[in-house]
């Protein structure tokens, strides 16, 4: 996005910076780093998407056509790891880098050099993951959850994955510390915590979750590494260890991780819905409280991923009840978004379409989550396509749709140009249709008993799999349209209006020119609290 900052002269800001490749290697500017995060995550999204299409191509019809079973398992494993750690998480950090300083009136992130370091760790980890396909033994194939004993048995590819997870964890922790420090110490004078935009609030809470659980993941993979190479037996029953221990500590990280990927999405949607409804967010404080509540509850529900691993009834009931209670604060949020739209002067530009699509489909994912939380049902659907359908409704039509919504919403501010509204709407409707075509039928497959992570299946599953594969290819192709829209927007000659969204009230729209200058808020703005 080198061209996007070209016309910031005339705003009275210094914008001297290195040009060419060195600008990106040495930059400590939060906007540059945010841009790199976003491009990186887009590249990883297409890498993970390529693996997804490999999976769906193999599953297009019964029998083994394209991928050998071992390679198929590597595809599912790396698809999950790359999408979670390479696409969704860095994309949200990219949004945080761009938006948090501008939304709180800060000149940059608190630790600018550490910010660059946390970005450059990502391509290193990603190359480890991708190149593991080409080492002897191939890439890790034990699923993105890398349960032992599969993960204690694999070859070099598993070690590369463990090292990549270490690096990604370090990057995430540094990013989180940076975001917490920026938000707590660098807000514009007069901006209290309860005056912050919801996106900033959700990122503050997410960053605390990251600091809490990423070290747990680092510890888990380190134990795995020492089991593999240094003679320990944490997870090896033959040496007195317990594979179920791995599942507990992995999911103590893994469940809050789900919320790490969805809370910033809630934040983006909470910015967009009021803007396009031209009303303040309904129940601002309850939104903040509900976010905090979801974060706390997310730490006491992890074993609902392990109902079939063997657990006393007391444990099953505890985790079932705790999980179902998360529906309460989540319901508060959905109610508030709906109430914000109620009697608003609504318009349906692309960001709003994706935000409404998010609410509609995320609720479906939320409901199937409550269904999975019920122990007797979970024992039936565990490791079936029902679970795949559930978490893709949460992570694709949840997290990813919110990312698209946010990208369209802030593209004019970032680039200084308007995106093509007609093409944006095409992107939304194609994504909406193909997403549901891909994943809704997977509910039926799961309920009929089709297991996940299997390259071949019984004949009765053939039709729905074919539908799902057609949907997946359609969804993948639709995302190329997004790339075209973004490039067209960056290269556009037409300047965007200073404030294209008349309902926007946050500082980046009210106090900064469009496009945002290379250095913003060198002098803190005068902040006047608006009534929420």
């Amino acid at each position: 996005m080198a061209a996007v900052h070209g016309d910031v002269h005339g705003h009275g800001h210094e914008d001297h910076h290195p040009t060419g490749i060195m600008r990106w290697v040495t930059t400590t500017n939060h906007k540059d780093i945010g841009t790199m995060y976003l491009w990186f995550s887009l590249a990883m999204f297409f890498t993970g998407g390529f693996l997804a299409l490999g999976i769906r191509a193999e599953l297009f019809q019964p029998g083994i056509q394209i991928l050998e079973p071992e390679m198929f398992n590597s595809f599912t494993t790396l698809h999950g790891l790359i999408m979670v750690f390479g696409a969704i998480m860095p994309a949200f950090v990219g949004f945080a880098n761009w938006q948090v300083p501008m939304m709180i009136g800060a000149p940059d992130m608190a630790f600018a050099r550490m910010n660059l370091w946390s970005f450059w760790l990502l391509p290193i980890a990603a190359s480890l993951l991708v190149s593991s396909f080409f080492v002897p033994g191939g890439a890790a194939a034990g699923g993105w959850t890398f349960y032992p004993p599969l993960s204690t048995q694999g070859g070099l590819g598993v070690d590369m994955m463990i090292f990549a997870v270490h690096i990604l964890g370090a990057s995430s922790i540094m990013g989180a510390i940076n975001i917490i420090t920026t938000i707590l110490n660098m807000r514009a004078p007069g901006m209290r915590l309860m005056d912050m935009p919801l996106f900033v609030w959700t990122w503050l809470i997410t960053a605390y979750l990251l600091v809490l659980v990423m070290p747990v993941l680092a510890g888990t993979v380190t134990m795995l590494l020492t089991d593999r190479h240094f003679g320990t037996s944490f997870f090896n029953a033959a040496g007195g260890g317990d594979p179920v221990l791995f599942q507990h500590i992995f999911w103590f990280f893994g469940h809050p991780e789900v919320y790490i990927m969805i809370l910033p999405a809630f934040g983006i949607v909470s910015e967009i819905i009021p803007t396009f409804s031209r009303k303040p967010l309904f129940g601002y404080s309850s939104m903040v409280y509900a976010t905090a509540s979801i974060a706390i509850l997310s730490c006491v529900v992890w074993a609902h991923h392990m109902f079939t691993a063997g657990m006393p009834t007391v444990g099953q009931l505890f985790f079932m009840y705790a999980t179902m209670l998360i529906a309460v604060p989540t319901g508060v949020k959905v109610f508030n978004w709906t109430a914000t739209m109620w009697r608003g002067a609504m318009t349906f530009e692309t960001p709003m379409l994706f935000a409404i699509g998010f609410i509609f489909l995320f609720v479906i994912g939320g409901f199937s989550g409550v269904i999975c939380a019920i122990v007797p049902i979970d024992i039936q659907v565990q490791d079936t396509y029902y679970v795949i359908a559930h978490f893709h409704y949460v992570l694709v039509s949840g997290a990813l749709f919110a990312l698209f919504a946010g990208a369209y919403y802030w593209l004019p501010k970032w680039t200084g140009h308007m995106y093509d509204e007609t093409l944006g709407k095409w992107h939304f409707w194609l994504s909406m249709i193909f997403f549901n075509l891909t994943f809704f039928v997977q509910h039926f497959l799961g309920l009929a008993g089709m297991p996940r992570r299997i390259p071949d299946y019984a004949l009765q599953f053939a039709d729905f799999n074919m539908v799902s594969s057609i949907g997946a290819f359609g969804f993948g192709m639709s995302q190329l349209l997004f790339v075209y829209i973004v490039i067209k927007c960056i290269r556009s000659k037409e300047a965007a209006p200073e404030k294209p969204w008349d309902g926007a009230t946050t500082l980046e729209w009210t106090h900064l020119p469009t496009p945002a200058p290379y250095h913003s808020f060198e002098k803190p703005p005068v902040f006047k609290p608006v009534s929420h």
Binding site: M194, Y289, V328, V332
Partner: protein, 68 residues
């Protein structure tokens, strides 16, 4: 931002009410403003931790009653 020194000590009951509201995810604006004026962050954090433990213990008790 008002500093901690500006805040008078809130009663245990007021902190408990704020934490309970946070757990459910609903708070009236007037109550929120009085919370922001009176409760110190440290009180909210300690209250939240106690609330978290109470939440877990309550669910465990309910489970025990059902199982027995």
């Amino acid at each position: 931002m008002s500093s901690d020194q500006d805040k008078s000590n809130a009663s245990v009951f007021q902190v408990a009410k704020a934490v309970l509201a946070a757990f459910i995810g609903i708070r009236k604006k007037s109550d929120l403003e009085s919370d922001a004026a009176n409760i110190k962050p440290s009180q909210v954090i300690i209250g939240g931790l106690i609330g978290g433990v109470l939440f877990v213990v309550t669910i465990l008790l309910v489970v025990k009653i059902i199982v027995n």
